[in-house]
């Protein structure tokens, strides 16, 4: 009887410490997301034939049926998740969009707010050191109708290729370092 009691007590302590350890030791999704991601695949689900009037959508993509949701098509882009929720999205033609990113829920929902106040929500289906998979979020119980796949890439290489530009903070930091490197300022 005493052994059973001890076992129950041990299990209680074990489960509690496991939970505490898991919160403290697990990879923080915000940290894991930081850096540059290159878009390698994108799938937009096509609408079923005859499910919506043709005049309401012109390319057959199902999210046209959700006019209240802001949907931005992302294809072959390069995303840089910067600290303090800043996001830079570099397009293939070199245009750069600045946005704000946040994680919600248990770190499984990515929200992106653009400067013009449009808002995108994605479910993070996979986040590993080298791979990121996002599904366009249509609500808690509905499967995604757009799937974006990214692979980890070097931010320096992207900047050298002209697909990303340094942020104002990067420029300030570089200027500071340059000033410190000047012969007169050497300490």
């Amino acid at each position: 009887m005493q052994v059973r009691l001890l076992l129950v007590r041990f299990l209680r302590v074990f489960v509690t410490s496991l939970l505490v350890a898991a919160v403290g030791c697990g990879a923080d999704p915000e940290e894991a997301l930081l850096g540059c991601w290159s878009e390698t695949g994108w799938t937009y689900e096509r609408a079923d034939e005859g499910t919506a009037p043709k005049s309401r959508w012109n390319d057959g993509v199902r999210f046209r049926q959700y006019p209240d949701r802001q949907v931005v098509r992302h294809e072959a882009e390069l995303w840089e998740f910067r600290p303090r929720g800043q996001l830079a999205i570099g397009d293939l033609d070199g245009t750069l969009d600045q946005a704000r990113w946040r994680l919600k829920g248990r770190g499984h929902v990515l929200t992106i707010r653009h400067a013009e106040n449009s808002f995108e929500v994605y479910d993070i289906k996979e986040l590993s050191p080298q791979r990121l998979v996002l599904h366009f979020d249509m609500g808690m119980e509905v499967r995604g109708i757009a799937r974006l796949e990214f692979s980890r890439t070097s931010c320096n290489a992207a900047m050298r290729a002209g697909r990303l530009k340094p942020s104002a903070e990067d420029l300030a930091l570089a200027a500071e370092e340059a000033r410190a490197d000047e012969p007169g300022n050497a300490s």
Partner: protein, 252 residues
């Protein structure tokens, strides 16, 4: 009195009022939580399923977070029951009022913090969802304990099952006249409807006034408390007057 009434004096209309008002608050808080944090505040079944999913995927951070959320709900239920049964043994009204006061304070705190300071970091989100789950655990346990398990306002899976069973039984003549069954059906329909109504109200208010919407949920609970305290006072004064009138008066 909806909440503070002693178990032996409880009547059906107490449970109807208590079930309706607290279900509206639960729906309100749940929808606000989904809009603000993309996480449910009262869907424990869903969180358990997610917990298992995260275990399978081996996401240690998420396992810890969802585990802590489940712990928060259970913790809330534990605290409420402890107050009602332990403190309630000495002073039933205070024992029942404490969980409600705690829930009001937590909701006001979430509303205030969210409106003033929330920078949408993941850590903040995780803590705030945890607090909301704690409040829902408090509420569900308090209401269930006070009503002897008749009323459960955040447990819609069980409620939907009961509702389906009761509707099926109402099709049969032998059950249709059962007063107890008719009351349960009425109560469950009311809870269901008020949960949806609270959810709609929460959604509309949150989209308009942001986190300050949580103050309205707190206000709803404060109404229950104030209502019960006023009724308690009036009842006490009435019985005092009655006792005084029964005491024989003697002339000097």
């Amino acid at each position: 009195m909806m909440l503070l009434e002693r178990a032996e004096k409880r009547e059906r209309h107490h449970d109807l009022w208590l079930g309706g008002s607290t279900a509206a608050v639960a729906g309100f808080v749940n929808v606000c939580s989904v809009i603000a944090f993309f996480a449910f505040a009262s869907n424990v079944t869903g969180h358990v399923a997610i917990f298992a999913e995260e275990l399978v995927k081996g996401h240690t951070h998420q396992i810890g977070v969802v585990g802590a959320w489940l712990g928060a709900f259970i913790g809330g239920a534990f605290v409420a029951n402890l107050c009602v049964t332990f403190i309630g043994d000495r002073n039933p009204r205070i024992g029942r009022a404490i969980p409600l006061v705690l829930e009001i304070l937590a909701l006001v705190g979430v509303g205030y913090y969210g409106h003033q300071y929330y920078a949408e970091t993941l850590t903040e989100t995780e803590y705030l969802v945890g607090i909301l789950l704690f409040t829902m655990g408090l509420q569900n346990s308090m209401v269930a304990t006070v009503s002897n398990g008749i009323v459960k306002t955040t447990h819609l899976t069980g409620l939907s099952t009961d509702l389906g069973m009761e509707l099926s039984m109402m099709l049969q003549q032998r059950y249709r006249r059962d007063d107890r069954l008719r009351f349960k059906l009425k109560l469950h329909l009311l809870i269901f409807a008020m949960y949806i109504l609270g959810g709609v109200l929460g959604g509309v208010l949150f989209l308009r006034i942001d986190f300050q919407a949580f103050h309205f949920a707190a206000l709803g609970l404060a109404f229950i408390l104030v209502h019960d305290l006023v009724i308690a006072r009036l009842t006490a004064a009435e019985s005092l007057l009655q006792r005084e009138s029964e005491v024989p008066r003697f002339r000097n």
